[in-house]
């Protein structure tokens, strides 16, 4: 039967409750029907990890459980402020007390966890009677405030715990019947899972003092920081023989070790490539205002800058210090890989059967078609659109103005048409940098092809804005009021007669021209909004690919114990007279919390105006930039 070493966390509180945590495998002896399932799972788990560095045959994989482990000393840590103790390992006889102390002080300096000898564990085998008195004498060698004595008799399920204080007074008697006095709770946990797990919300190690931190957090921190303790296994020829979850042989994967060794030169090489790129970008010619302006508008450039920053984070040769940094690096790396894979998939689809040339061939006719539709639209506006009667002269002026623009645009497209296929072929290759790149390029192509719609929108909006502005000002004049710029309010004002006359005249003219300008503005704003909507969808999907924490979600699904929200307790069956035994399991983080916690921050911000603000801007005629991108400088 495969067991695992158990280590315990003991909590001692004078006069109240004691708790001891033991490892998972204790359950195997409790529930006889479970071990097959549990063993199978564990075995599969172990083999999947990789090769074992020490070759042990498959049959002999016994991990000794605490209840079958030999008698020895309990090593662990007292949790400050909570009267608890975490037992991390058992040191077996024979040992030399001096060497034990030396080993513990070495580990203390290495891990910054104050490990001490907590007490003794006795599981007497046949022919080993008389250990009890020997175990009691041990407390004199390792002076402690409280000394734990855990013992288990063969054939019984529960174990008993006694706590002896410094002055020799026994704090709890095993045979105490009345139930008063100190009570003990023993909690079992899976050492490996707690060691690898991270409790959320994540706090830095030195942020809160130990006394304020919650007990659970301290437990998790203690086990996680005591990793060097678990490096000593039974094959090491040291003076001490330890039992813990890894003492049957340290597990490692050869593939993981090779990757770790290989990653350092690869990181250095990639960092050097990145420095080349930065040197190229620092050329003076690229910092001229027009170039800067264009590159801030093209989403491809923005995306490439963003990805370069990511590159720098991921491929820096420095190892990630905290959990948050590690998760950030891993998320960026995985999303980058997925991005490239999707991009290559796209390329293989596009370039098969010459689809890209077909695409290029349809591009010019589509642009032509759009221009033709716009022309028809303008002809319709110049007539009597929707039965409305337009001001003839203004209508003709605006209509001809816009028609001329379209004519220019069509000739420009026709000029470019022989080169379109080549350009598109090479631009399509840029999808190998990632799907996000391809989508950004698509968004830029759409922006360039609908540039005339953007121009029309700007003209229409400006004209409409001027009309509205003039109208509001002249309306105030009509009522005898005026806008006070200094006081930012409307004041009454006495106008001269000629001012009033001309003002009223202009007001009338503008008012009757309003429907025409308003209609042109409405039509072009709608067209612009359609284009903006399409670009917005592309940006949203790019944003999603950039920020989705794939690694964190994968970790949550495959190794849910790594991201812990809290713990769960189950009460284990017990015999009367023994302390309470609880089983502690890790409660994994909810998927929505994982997404919220580990989202990679992106550059684009969502619409800065609410719907009401947007409508107001549209009504007044202000130009809207709904997808304004965040710059590095804070606004």
């Amino acid at each position: 039967m495969e067991n695992r070493f158990s280590v315990s966390l003991a909590r001692v509180r004078t006069g109240l409750l004691y708790r001891v945590l033991f490892s998972y495998d204790f359950m195997l002896t409790f529930f006889g029907s479970m071990p097959a399932l549990v063993n199978a799972h564990r075995r599969v788990n172990l083999l999947v990890v990789g090769y074992r560095i020490r070759a042990t045959s498959q049959k002999s994989l016994p991990f000794k459980c605490c209840n079958t482990a030999d008698s020895g000393l309990l090593v662990g840590r007292w949790i400050p402020g909570h009267n608890s103790a975490v037992v991390l390992a058992v040191i077996h006889y024979p040992f030399i007390p001096g060497q034990v102390k030396k080993y513990l002080s070495e580990l203390q300096s290495q891990t910054q966890v104050d490990l001490t000898v907590l007490g003794s564990w006795s599981m007497p085998k046949e022919g080993q009677e008389g250990m009890d008195s020997f175990l009691k004498d041990l407390s004199t060698i390792f002076p402690q405030k409280c000394w734990l004595q855990l013992s288990r008799e063969i054939g019984k399920r529960g174990f008993t715990c006694q706590v002896v204080q410094n002055n020799g007074r026994l704090l709890q008697d095993r045979e105490q019947k009345n139930g008063e006095g100190d009570k003990i709770i023993l909690i079992h946990y899976d050492q490996r899972k707690v060691m690898l797990s991270q409790l959320h919300p994540v706090q830095d190690v030195g942020q809160k003092s130990d006394v304020e931190a919650s007990e659970l957090r301290l437990v998790f921190q203690t086990v996680a920081q005591s990793q060097p303790l678990f490096f000593l296994d039974k094959y090491d020829d040291g003076p001490l023989k330890l039992s813990h979850w890894q003492s049957e042989g340290r597990e490692a994967s050869i593939i993981a070790e090779l990757l770790k060794q290989a990653s350092v030169p690869v990181c250095i090489f990639l960092t050097w490539l990145l420095s080349l790129w930065y040197w190229f970008c620092s050329f003076r010619i690229l910092h001229l205002p027009p170039v800067l302006f264009i590159s801030s508008k093209l989403s491809t450039c923005v995306q490439s800058v963003y990805r370069a920053v990511h590159f720098r984070t991921v491929f820096s040769p420095k190892k990630a210090g905290t959990h948050v940094e590690f998760m950030r690096k891993a998320n960026i790396f995985v999303s980058f890989l997925v991005d490239i894979a999707l991009g290559l998939l796209l390329i293989s689809w596009l370039y098969r059967e010459n689809r890209i040339s077909k695409l290029a061939d349809t591009l010019v006719p589509v642009a032509d078609r759009v221009a033709k539709e716009l022309q028809e639209l303008l002809e319709w506006l110049m007539g009597a659109p929707a039965g409305l009667k337009m001001n003839r002269a203004l209508d003709q002026v605006l209509g001809r103005f816009f028609l001329y623009h379209i004519h220019l645009w069509i000739s420009y497209i026709h000029l470019m048409s022989p080169f379109i296929e080549r350009i598109l072929w090479y631009v399509g290759l840029s999808a190998c940098l990632g799907l996000t790149f391809a989508l950004s390029v698509l968004s830029d192509i759409v922006a360039l092809l609908t540039f005339h719609i953007y121009c029309f929108y700007v003209y229409g909006a400006r004209l409409y804005c001027l009309t509205i502005y003039g109208l509001s000002s002249l309306w105030r004049l009509f009522r005898g009021k005026k806008w006070n710029v200094l006081r930012q309010r409307v004041d009454s004002c006495s106008y001269d007669l000629d001012q009033l006359f001309i003002g009223t005249l202009l007001f009338t003219i503008l008012l009757f021209l309003l429907p025409t300008t308003a209609l042109y503005y409405l039509v072009f704003t709608l067209l612009r909004l359609v284009v903006v909507l399409f670009q917005g969808v592309i940006h949203l999907s790019v944003d999603f690919i950039n920020s989705f924490p794939l690694f964190a979600i994968g970790l949550r699904i495959c190794r849910p114990y790594r991201l812990a929200e809290g713990v769960k307790f189950n009460v284990l069956c017990q015999e009367p007279g023994t302390p309470l035994h609880l089983m502690m399991e890790i409660n994994p983080l909810k998927c929505s919390s994982v997404l919220q916690c580990y989202r990679t921050p992106t550059y684009s911000c969502y619409p800065k105006d609410s719907w009401a603000g947007l409508c107001k801007k549209l009504f007044v005629g202000e130009l809207i930039y709904p997808w304004k991108q965040k710059t590095d400088k804070t606004d």
């Binding site: 409750l17 009570k183 919650s214 307790f569």
Partner: protein, 195 residues
């Protein structure tokens, strides 16, 4: 021939199980388990999913789908109705229907609340003792009725006097006051010990 009637009277030994109802009148059951002096577990079991309701609902949806099929002659309507019913049922038993709710109180360690759904899924929260201020019964006025509910007052360990949040218990089973009082008394015994 004389028949022999063998009457087997089942001897029901219920460990603290009495007849309780929830606020809507459905019968629920409360189970108290005492694991130790300072560790108690209370389980409130809601009434199970009623087969009649499920059948009525399914028949209604399928009859409606048949009626639509009769007019449109499109088999996609039928298959979509089947898929919709199945999906709806699975979502209901996995996310909506709560089978039983458990409150495990361990003196000086904390309180664990667990909801177990009809599909077997369990969602658990554990609240440490240093964050727990008190367990109280509150009353809420909802429309025309007054509802009593048991809740846990949470405090920040750094500021023990302020209540930062309130966690209501047994939200899906909604037991009435008599059931709540029993749970409340047991919890207060344990909390008094650990203070």
């Amino acid at each position: 021939m004389r028949g022999c009637f063998l009457l087997l009277t089942p001897l029901v030994i219920s460990m603290a199980e009495e007849e309780f109802t929830d606020i809507n009148g459905n019968s629920i059951s409360l189970d108290c388990q005492t694991h130790s002096d300072f560790c108690r577990e209370f389980t409130v079991t809601s009434p199970k999913l009623s087969l009649r309701k499920v059948m009525v609902y399914t028949c209604f949806v399928w009859l409606f789908a048949y009626a639509v099929f009769f007019f449109t002659e499109n088999t996609a309507v039928l298959s979509s109705a089947i898929i919709l019913t199945l999906a709806g049922m699975m979502i209901h038993i996995h996310f909506v229907k709560v089978d039983h709710e458990t409150l495990l109180i361990i003196g000086s360690l904390g309180v664990q609340l667990s909801s177990s759904y009809a599909s077997g899924r369990e969602s658990t929260i554990f609240i440490e003792m240093n964050k727990l201020k008190d367990i109280v019964i509150n009353e809420a006025v909802y429309m025309h009725s007054i509802i009593y509910y048991l809740c846990i007052l949470i405090k920040d360990p750094a500021d023990p006097e302020t209540v930062t949040s309130v966690v209501p218990l047994f939200q899906s089973s909604n037991p009435r006051l008599n059931c709540l009082v029993q749970v409340y008394r047991s919890c207060q015994e344990i909390l008094a010990q650990s203070r």
